[in-house]
Symmetry: C2
Subunit: 351 residues, 2 copies
């Protein structure tokens, strides 16, 4: 089995290195291929997603991804910026389903800006569509009839795109508490109306799952007011971008949150996917060795679970992280003093 | 001076009635015109925004708006649904600037899901564009080359639309703490890139205001983590819809939040505008007389301030509401027992 490791920018390399130490300690044989993505790839190859990186991605069973983002690249044209690496991987590899669980680790309730009893009740999964919506529609600038500059982006979804992510949502709900909330803006958008229609049609095959619909503005309110009401939330690319980040922050400890982006391709033991911590490249602390690698270590656990079929090893890693936290091994993001490699050590000794 | 009163659906009529009692108690001569909007208008006239309502709106100096939304109308075609009344008024009347202040009334910190010290620090104003974006672009359904149903909506902004809302944002920031944060998704959307470029250009005339830019996903996180960091936030129609509702819920007491939607037309003493509480029609409690009318009473205060130039009377109303709250006159939404007319009484006696 082959894992492609794309560490990327900022704290990406530091946190990925600790995850690889954990992988190395497991009784699993995998081969690793490294590849450049993001600002570092631009600096070395002139492109945020070089062809050789994409080749490595296609040859792998899974990708462990660090982070992309580099202030040095802010002035570049859009297609050269670091973000294009992750957008390009998602679309080139057909990674259409982004799974973002948000759950508070026991004892971490106090780190949320929400009241501890509200934060402690969070146990939800956001299933975000990643290959369509206004992200990938035709876009550009043009001149209006009045001679004004205008920017435009076309938002759209077709029924096939909606159905496959709806299925991902229903399947996930079935494995959890059996509740799916579909978020859209069907009172204003035709794209959302089609979304809602197709989700309702798909529900016919999942009568055991309780389906509800919520407008995105209300969802943003409910995620603050009582996030504990949600089990699985399925939504489009743009709304998912906003709501999943909001939900992460409701949890409070974003240095502990992993994500998986899955496609349709099957591996020998699961589904091909890309795994990344939800925190970004954090340029302000990059290179200091103080970033918290737990989210990347937990992303590795998701990789083992979904792409390599190694549920047992995944659970072992998760238990080791939980044990380290319970023993007070906290990074600076959680008010502690443990640095990046110390946290790696702590997880390793508890494996 | 003429005020158009559009009470609308659900709790709209109850809360509007209390605001009119307050208006009646002020030493101001105004004439009132009533008009039907929303589901009630559909039931009486077959349209959510009948022509006579629009005529009344155009003849007035300001509109006091209750709420629209009615489950009975959920099955109707989009152009017949209650929401079209508010969307239609915004576009027909050129109400492009939605001002949504979010601030915790003293003593109300505990009602937020956020920790009291975080909620208590909220004092921000969201300036949301209301006439453009994906709300009003071409939209529809079509069939893809593969024969699939597809929904689409075009998102766009031209430089004129961005400049006038940017000016509204800078002007508001000048009257407050001098900080403007522009929220967009310029790393993905061309509409946002143009937005950002024009906001930066407009800044040249407002060098005294401190301008920053934030991606919408990050803004959704920051509004949870430390909403106290924001002074004025300016953003487009769609992002504003989501973030302003999120910000309201961070405050906790949405039964106390007013909003103003302003256009370019001037009245004798100010700017023509529409004023509404940010809570909706709340069909579950409609007709029971238990809705909290404070947000509508505070919307009346904003109306007096912006459209009628009656700053003194506006401040009087706001002080009376604050005094009632301080004396423990709380609606059911705030855990109290005061009903709709009792809250009206309490504000009146403190005027
Ligand atoms: C970097 C950016 C293009 C990306 C997105 O908007 O999808 C990020 O915010 C994310 O959520 O992974
Ligand atoms: C009712 C709906 C169309 C409206 C909007 O999306 O603008 C509402 O959510 C609002 O914010 O006033």
């Amino acid at each position: 089995m082959k894992i492609a490791v794309f560490a990327g920018d900022g704290i990406g390399p530091e946190v990925t290195a600790q995850a690889l130490r954990v992988l190395d300690a497991l009784p699993i044989k995998v081969s690793l291929i490294e590849g450049d993505v993001g600002g570092v790839a631009y600096k070395r190859h002139g492109l945020p997603l070089p062809a050789e990186t994409l080749v490595a991605a296609r040859e792998a069973d899974a990708i462990l991804f660090g982070a992309v983002g580099d202030f040095d690249c802010d002035h570049l044209e859009r297609h050269l910026r670091p973000e294009q690496a992750i957008l390009g991987l998602r679309s080139e590899l057909g990674l259409f389903a982004n799974l973002r669980p948000a759950k508070v680790f026991p004892g971490m309730e106090g780190h949320s800006a929400l009241k501890p009893e509200i934060a402690g009740a969070i146990d939800l999964l956001i299933v975000r569509e990643l290959n369509g919506d206004v992200y990938f529609g035709e876009k550009g600038t043009r001149t209006t009839a009045q001679g004004l500059r205008e920017g435009y982006d076309i938002m759209s979804y077709d029924e096939g795109e909606v159905r496959r992510i709806a299925i991902a949502g229903f399947e996930a709900a079935r494995k959890r508490r059996g509740k799916l909330c579909s978020v859209d803006k069907a009172n204003v958008l035709e794209t959302s109306q089609l979304w809602r229609d197709v989700v309702i049609e798909t529900h016919a095959d999942y009568a055991d799952v309780e389906l509800s619909h919520m407008y995105v503005d209300n969802a943003a309110m409910q995620l603050v007011k009582s996030p504990g009401q949600f089990d699985v939330v399925v939504t489009g690319n743009l709304f998912g971008d906003i709501l999943s980040d909001q939900a992460s922050m409701c949890v409070g400890s974003i240095g502990l949150l992993a994500s998986a982006s899955l496609g349709e391709r099957k591996t020998a033991y699961g589904t091909f996917g890309l795994y990344e911590p939800i925190h970004g490249s954090a340029p302000d602390i990059a290179g200091k060795g103080i970033a918290n690698p737990m989210a990347t270590i937990l992303s590795l656990a998701e990789l083992l679970r979904h792409s390599l079929g190694e549920e047992q090893q995944a659970a072992r890693i998760e238990a080791a992280v939980a044990a380290a936290l319970a023993d007070g091994v906290l990074g600076g993001d959680l008010g502690g003093t443990a640095n990046c490699s110390e946290i790696g050590d702590a997880v390793l000794t508890r494996l």
